[in-house]
């Protein structure tokens, strides 16, 4: 109930500025192009740009921008997944095995997240990304 009230407040706040300025529209469109391209080209990662965009340009608070970013990336990923399917970059068996693992890991991870401080999680994340990135280069 409380969150519903919050949502109404937030919608009321954005309603005042409903008419977006041309500049904001331009920024949103350009970032949309970047998010879509990266998400289609790399099969992910669009959310990493979308979250800060929603925070800085549309002034959404942290939790709202994370949730809303998923709603933005969803149609974009859906369309690019179709292209991947059509271009033959997908196989069913590995998807089903990996997919169920991801689902399980997602549940375990969201439960664990309550016990680990956010900063520790992010630092681990940074180092895994860096190691993976360097390994892929060679």
């Amino acid at each position: 109930m409380k969150t519903q009230e919050k949502e109404e407040n937030l919608n009321a706040k954005t309603e005042k500025k409903e008419k977006l300025s041309l500049k904001t529209k331009l920024i949103l469109s350009l970032c949309g192009i970047a998010i879509g391209f990266i998400n289609g080209f790399f099969g992910g990662g669009g959310g990493m740009i979308c979250v800060p965009l929603l925070e800085k340009v549309l002034h959404l608070p942290n939790k709202y921008s994370h949730a809303t970013a998923i709603a933005v990336i969803f149609p974009i990923s859906f369309v690019s997944a179709l292209i991947y399917l059509l271009s033959g970059s997908l196989e069913t068996v590995p998807f089903l095995t990996v997919g169920s693992g991801v689902l399980l890991g997602g549940i375990v991870g969201s439960l664990l997240l309550k016990f680990l401080p956010a900063k520790v999680v992010r630092i681990i994340f940074v180092f895994v990304m860096l190691a993976g990135g360097i390994r892929l280069l060679f």
Binding site: N11, G45, L103, M129
Partner: protein, 100 residues
């Protein structure tokens, strides 16, 4: 969030999946996960649907471009570009963590 940036290198490096296959799997498993998390976030009222049109409209168009371009590149090259992309993301994240 950010699960994909880990899943793709894990699949490519440790299971020696083709880079394109890893990316495709990541897209699909994101879609599956997103259905659940969107439902939960929507019920909690964390999704603000206003002003999203411009991002989604242009995002969908350019994602088609990106995916088509990807399908023409050899996996080896794509892997290297993805490696550079990951390193950049890691550096940006690193700066953000220590700024706070």
């Amino acid at each position: 969030m950010g699960g994909g940036t880990l899943l793709i290198p894990i699949l490519t490096i440790f299971l020696s999946f083709d880079q394109k296959l890893s990316q495709g799997i990541n897209l699909l498993s994101f879609l599956v996960m997103a259905i659940f998390s969107l439902y939960i976030h929507y019920r909690n009222g964390f999704i603000v649907t206003k002003n999203l049109f411009w991002i989604i409209f242009f995002g969908v168009i350019s994602s088609v471009l990106g995916a088509v371009l990807m399908s023409f590149l050899p996996s080896r090259i794509l892997k290297m570009i993805f490696g550079v992309f990951l390193c950049c993301l890691a550096i940006v994240e690193f700066i953000k963590v220590f700024k706070k």
